[in-house]
Subunit: 811 residues, 2 copies
Amino acid sequence: MDNRGFQQGSLNSFRSSSSDEDLMDIPGTAMDFSMRDDVPPLDGEIEGKDKSYNGGGIGSSNRMMDFLEEPIPGVGTYDDFNTIDWVREKSRDRDRHREITNKSKESTWALIHSVSDAFSGWLLMLLIGLLSGSLAGLIDISAHWMTDLKEGICTEGFWFNHEHCCWNSEHVTFEDRDKCPEWNSWSQLIISTDEGAFAYIVNYFMYVLWALLFAFLAVSLVKVFAPYACGSGIPEIKTILSGFIIRGYLGKWTLIIKTITLVLAVSSGLSLGKEGPLVHVACCCGNILCHCFNKYRKNEAKRREVTTHGLNSLSFGESLSGTTLGMRIWGLYVSYYFPLKTLWRSFFAALVAAFTLRSINPFGNSRLVLFYVEFHTPWHLFELVPFILLGIFGGLWGALFIRTNIAWCRKRKTTQLGKYPVIEVLVVTAITAILAFPNEYTRMSTSELISELFNDCGLLDSSKLCDYENRFNTSKGGELPDRPAGVGVYSAMWQLALTLILKIVITIFTFGMKIPSGLFIPSMAVGAIAGRLLGVGMEQLAYYHHDWAIFNSWCSQGADCITPGLYAMVGAAACLGGVTRMTVSLVVIMFELTGGLEYIVPLMAAAMTSKWVADALGREGIYDAHIRLNGYPFLEAKEEFAHKTLAMDVMKPRRNDPLLTVLTQDSMTVEDVETVISETTYSGFPVVVSRESQRLVGFVLRRDLIISIENARKKQDGVVSTSIIYFTEHSPPMPPYTPPTLKLRNILDLSPFTVTDLTPMEIVVDIFRKLGLRQCLVTHNGRLLGIITKKDVLKHIAQMANQDPDSILFN
Amino acid sequence: MDNRGFQQGSLNSFRSSSSDEDLMDIPGTAMDFSMRDDVPPLDGEIEGKDKSYNGGGIGSSNRMMDFLEEPIPGVGTYDDFNTIDWVREKSRDRDRHREITNKSKESTWALIHSVSDAFSGWLLMLLIGLLSGSLAGLIDISAHWMTDLKEGICTEGFWFNHEHCCWNSEHVTFEDRDKCPEWNSWSQLIISTDEGAFAYIVNYFMYVLWALLFAFLAVSLVKVFAPYACGSGIPEIKTILSGFIIRGYLGKWTLIIKTITLVLAVSSGLSLGKEGPLVHVACCCGNILCHCFNKYRKNEAKRREVTTHGLNSLSFGESLSGTTLGMRIWGLYVSYYFPLKTLWRSFFAALVAAFTLRSINPFGNSRLVLFYVEFHTPWHLFELVPFILLGIFGGLWGALFIRTNIAWCRKRKTTQLGKYPVIEVLVVTAITAILAFPNEYTRMSTSELISELFNDCGLLDSSKLCDYENRFNTSKGGELPDRPAGVGVYSAMWQLALTLILKIVITIFTFGMKIPSGLFIPSMAVGAIAGRLLGVGMEQLAYYHHDWAIFNSWCSQGADCITPGLYAMVGAAACLGGVTRMTVSLVVIMFELTGGLEYIVPLMAAAMTSKWVADALGREGIYDAHIRLNGYPFLEAKEEFAHKTLAMDVMKPRRNDPLLTVLTQDSMTVEDVETVISETTYSGFPVVVSRESQRLVGFVLRRDLIISIENARKKQDGVVSTSIIYFTEHSPPMPPYTPPTLKLRNILDLSPFTVTDLTPMEIVVDIFRKLGLRQCLVTHNGRLLGIITKKDVLKHIAQMANQDPDSILFN
């Protein structure tokens, strides 16, 4: 985490270099798979990195290589942009645990160590809950305040936001809760009036100015200090949690910068949400706090577990404290990833986060009420038609959004556009702010807009959306019947329609810019607006034409037939489903929100239609599409591999290629091995009994091999180029005056996974997915034949799906 | 499913025979593992069984064995009491799917077939939802009616239950909702009065008589028609879903008999619940309806998927329609088992089931209200002490219950007791009924009792539990303050204490008898009673001693400090957690029921304490304990294997044993193979290149081998004992006049799983668990060394946990 300077440009530079290699160095045609496992070259920086990851220096390593107690530093760690080996990491954790348990019987000190080790998990959860809860609370409060800052300032104290400012004012009437003398718009401050065209222009100008300032600050901070802080972070987190390594992506600089820039980005009024970036922030908390505990610092698998806890803690925590709806959905989406055993801990961290959040932000509580809507009117079977229409809209919008957004992002990556992120952000912000200010629905924050759209009009609602005629006529039973729309509703409809168009267009260009940006809130807003428009339309249709055949059986005059708020909710679910394709969790959440069996069918109908429509136009959700765009090695857990290919079709070497590069267990010298290492770029080598028999003994990683040989040459007396490397348990007695041997059995993985060459690829994919493998060896009748890496599997899947196999960049 | 007669006794007879083998035939010591994979002997019944499972007869098989298009019937099926191979089953389904998809391009008919195949899943779900929903509704209504039948009968119509009977009566007052002239107790019918000691005795007598009659009918039906219908069925279903085969366990006879006897058992007043058996009923529905669809009938893995849908449909469905709480918890417990993709279908089936259930049983709706309690009083930090006490009670009770119940069940299996199930049931019923009648809390149905205990006393509650002094004094704000208990409450306390003792004792003997019996409701009742007792105690303590230091800071006089209903709920969660050890889902559910963040900490504290206490006294939940008691091969998904053993320590043959029995790929005659088959009982044989090289080619199943050879001898011209069996792709040209060869490559599994002998067992266990393997071959440096079966793994786990490894009976 301390070589931030190195990381800044590394993602891009490395990416381009490895793809160049893929295209240039291969003798075969473009159709042929890349022969290499793209390992970044080992340079001088490795030792520095290892130190920070291992805690110990090289000097402490043992001189007796034969009875090596302490592992050589660096052995067992990973390079940046590589995939971890879940099996190895889990084994290491279990070894560690066993060792501590065994030692605990020896002394009191060891016993205390053992207890504290067991307890550290809970302490870590407590810290994660506290940290992520506080950060979420801070972000919430600051974003609120800064959003209001664009419109004016509180004279009572500049640190009050609009709501707070008028909270304690005595001059507030119930009707105009938002207006109080303590709150001054910019025009009041500058030209001492809030009336007239000039005041409007001053406010307009200040609004745009603040937006540009916030956006500029956000993009500059991201660009200078933490390039990984941009975007939602979800594609990368999905990949990292599945076992990929991106150093610094969950580091402290990313955390700090992302927290600050998230507030700025949200306040700037751009069409983005804070849910995705908040997930990234929570994951950073989890990952950083891991470094305080030995147990977690050294184990990549354990770290990923804790990171998930961080994620869950914020998701559950926010949902418990009722802050945002989106987080809740996120929690469900990810929680099925890690074993059930650890759910307790997530839950605990979530509780802590929720309490922290509540105590920091006491007004967060009221949001629960905003989003929690209880509808009472039953829906009619006929209404399924508009609900399904909303589903189709959601699916179409989702597919369209993914396509255009990915196309735009690709353009950003490949053309000059990507070189001017600051200008891009400023232009988009300027357009958004200039178009947003005149329309009250675009000017208000998007989550406020959504809650207003979800809301069913009550007796006391003063919003324009509820400006019906005969507002105060209740039917028997106190229900508000369907009523003709008033002027307010009509003007609201127009404004909402304009808002819809703006949101649809601008979100495409916003998501993926070099600032933190989430997608939940904009998607839901699009759906909710469309739903509300349709809902009000249906309501008016039913009111004016209740004698039509489709209405007259169930909607008599003066009854409350149609609930526009429900339409908004259904629309939001449909759009969210279309973009993210996570339909089940969505329906469950929406079901909980509406709190009844009644509305599950509309929600389900819309969400399923949306998913089907969107799937028909493109298989991937937005996050998977971004994962593919970036070429990350992510093996989708759900997707079944449906083609009838065999392991031998995927393994390397291919039929016309030279033989597989192997090491023998007892006949190669240090020099031979070093030649193999320098002539190839494979990330590991199988070790066999002899080249003739090709009987597999084990697998050794390139990185471990290099470090061990280097180490042996430095420390071990007399290891020279002609020393023979033994991977066997006992080396034979040597005649005197031969150079000393180098025993490397300790770095040999003695249980490599093997499959036969006739194993169907569907089984191989299943093994890779379920066991989290990095590579798998292929045998035929007991002879070693080839190797399949995770990258090969991903390339094969891409090829079978008629996608470009070279889009998979990393191993 | 049609050889019911055979199945009746088979479970027991087979079980004893195989364990005898284990003890007698092994040359090594008792510590040594059994060498054999206990395969039941192949007898004449196999063909009959296969026919019913394959749909085709043997006569249809192809004469050209070399170019076998159609598989030999029987190849690819499993014996009873064996474990399926998930990898093979899934591959088969994918092959099938691919074939249909490919064919669909050829003709319109094939296209229709393909579409209907894709659609059949949804149709199946619809049917499952309808069937399981109807059955659940029927069971509910009948059990209600028959429970009331024990007390009296409705003169308006004998088919009305008590509530129904008085529903339409005009003579009912609000205070005495239960008393109406239309409802006649047995004493009123027989001696025309309801008063006096004699009437009481008549009612008492009739109550016991009906209970005995119901119990007798239930146990007789189970004994005669469907022995698998007894118990809760959950241990067996867990095992079956994990891939074990018990023919008839989910068959139509089991379904019919279990449905009928469940009603009888519940009505008889025994201390049992209907949730577990309902799950079994739903699974039967799923499994039986599978037989209507080709896609599902032939594939064991697919069938299991559908069975889970059946299970989920009922669980979710009931929870949606609000019938029972227990089902809801069940749904969560099992839903993490199968891939997320299929959750949609479960959900759909659940919706259908919920609607069916609602339309059948319109009064089921009111139950939701019974269990849904909204508490408003906040709890105080000090109250965590009683909550944790409840947790300890729950844990202790759970552990005690599991121990005594398992000990009693073991006694039933091993002694004479097991031979007289009818007498046992009658005795327990008689004791329960005789002790239950005088006490109103034992006389009412257990779910009614629980809802009464959960309920917080309102102004209008007329129950004895709410008989406080100053009943109608409300504090400011309309709250009911803590009040001194009246006579009713004191007598209720005594009766509840007696109920608690009775339930604790009698449930131990009830669960496991030869009638359908669930455990959710009795466990919750025990916890709820204990909780309510403690709650009322705390309430009175706080009322009379509000000046004590622990109370006076938060509980002023006249305030509503303590909610006894909350204590009941916490107690129920603790006891349920102690018995089943499924704490997380429990808390989530209870959290939903109470509907607020407020009560999640009490519930969590109690559930966690309960789990820790119970785990300290015994690792297993009740279902896992029963699985182990019955020796089923169930590999727990959560439990981590923490010992540092290697594959070579577990594999067979052991060091001193004779070599592994293998077949060679091209040098053994039919006679050689038949000798191997008759001399061993292994369920499969590895095929190697030659005995000298021990290079692995593949794995062939004993069952497939026997069927294929038998088939070849019957159908293929000239295959005799000296024919050579070839497992290779091409057999070499033979000199004339040698007997024709037999090619068996088509039954050879060419992609057997292998691990090296140095693979840690934790990884092996992980592979078995995640991939659903049946066996795995062990190699050393490319040479075949041994084999590990699922049974070996389970035995090894049992041995490492200091349990009897011979308790694992099946493979």
